[in-house]
Amino acid sequence: MPVGAASWSFTEDDFGAIQKSLQKFLNDSNARCALLVDRSGQLVATVGEQPRFDPTAFATLTAADFSANDQLARLIGETEFNSLFHQGEQESMYLADIARRVILVILFDNRTTLGLVRLKVKQTVDELTKLFAQMFQRAQSGEQKTQPNILAGAEDEIDKLFQ
């Protein structure tokens, strides 16, 4: 049994590919901003207009929102809701699942429509799903261990931090 959740990492090239895909989506859909949030509530990336709210709190609540809806889906006999939509008067958000591990959050206002966002996001979700599937596969095959462990041998420093 694993000790805790599996870990994964992404390289600069992965990050570049993620950004490129999201930037294209933002251009095509006229949405304001796209955020990627890990299912445990960590913010992974932000593309587009920098949000003016606290992104850490936002990421946490997004993950909780998505997880709660996942459970609701199961209660009514669905395996998942792979997307969610929250409508506001000015600002709205669209959330989509990526490879069961990451959540894509799109923030948009009345410069675009839900229809267009939905239409354009489909291709982006497919692209990102492939990208993340590759990353997780790499993590499983142990390739990521070639990354230097930045905390290796840092026991003394950790001890000092808590003195």
């Binding site: 850490t56 459970q71 905390l151 420093e157």
Partner: protein, 225 residues
């Protein structure tokens, strides 16, 4: 699951405060929020009912310092303690790196403590996480109350130790926080057991709150080292 962000030079870890209802989990977070420098912490988010009972979770991000140029950022969560909120409680455990079990020392709450501890083991197992092998500390809160049970009783009931079968780990390990006590030892029946480190606290006054947080954070970082 900790996240290391090389771009922003941050290590992000998730710590969950677990325990029975009204045991003081939210109070722990409120104390941390009130005491740390505002520049090193984020907003305290509380999803609570009108009567201030935690409905979904409380959340507080805090920076505990820098190691090798990386900011160590801990995301502290509490779960709703009340028994019937299990569905939402379980969600919060997703991707957890370290657990603090906040027990209510009052003798009348012994059963509630045990029920919550069992629930923690069950929920962790459902996720496939092994609680006995991850950073885990127990905090006995409300030590100032006259009806608080003694530590021996609480330890016996909530933290009696889990068996260690791996011979390499069967070595007496002293408890760094309590002189004369051991975290790993051989008990009278001959079995080797390991207990989680424990702390005494009075969360409303802040006593023991940082000791607990420091201990679990240190354990989490050491799992990465």
């Amino acid at each position: 699951m900790s996240m290391i962000n090389y771009a922003s030079r941050e290590i992000n870890c998730k710590i969950v405060y677990y325990g029975p209802g009204l045991g003081g989990k939210t109070t722990n977070l409120e104390h941390v929020y009130g005491k740390v420098n505002p520049s090193t912490r984020g907003k305290l988010i509380s999803l609570a009912t009108e009567t201030e009972r935690t409905l979904f979770f409380d959340f507080l991000p805090v920076d505990l310092g820098t190691i090798r140029g990386f900011k160590t950022r801990f995301h502290l969560y509490t779960v709703p303690g009340q028994v019937y909120y299990n569905a939402s409680r379980k969600l919060i455990l997703k991707g957890v790196d370290g657990i603090v079990f906040v027990a209510d020392s009052q003798i009348e709450r012994m059963e509630a403590n045990q029920e919550s501890m069992q629930n923690l083991y069950d929920n962790m197992q459902e996720y496939g996480y092994d609680l006995t092998r991850m950073p885990f500390v127990v905090q006995y809160n409300k030590r100032d109350l006259p009806n608080a049970a003694n530590i021996g009783e609480l330890q016996g009931s909530l933290n009696p130790g889990w068996e260690i079968s791996d011979p390499q780990r069967q070595r007496v390990t002293p408890d760094p926080y309590h002189a004369g006590e051991n975290l790993v030892e051989q008990i009278k029946s001959g079995e080797w057991v390991e207990r989680a480190p424990y702390f005494e606290a009075v969360a409303v006054t802040g006593e023991g709150v940082f000791e607990t947080l420091k201990a679990v954070s240190k354990m989490v970082l050491k799992t990465l080292a």
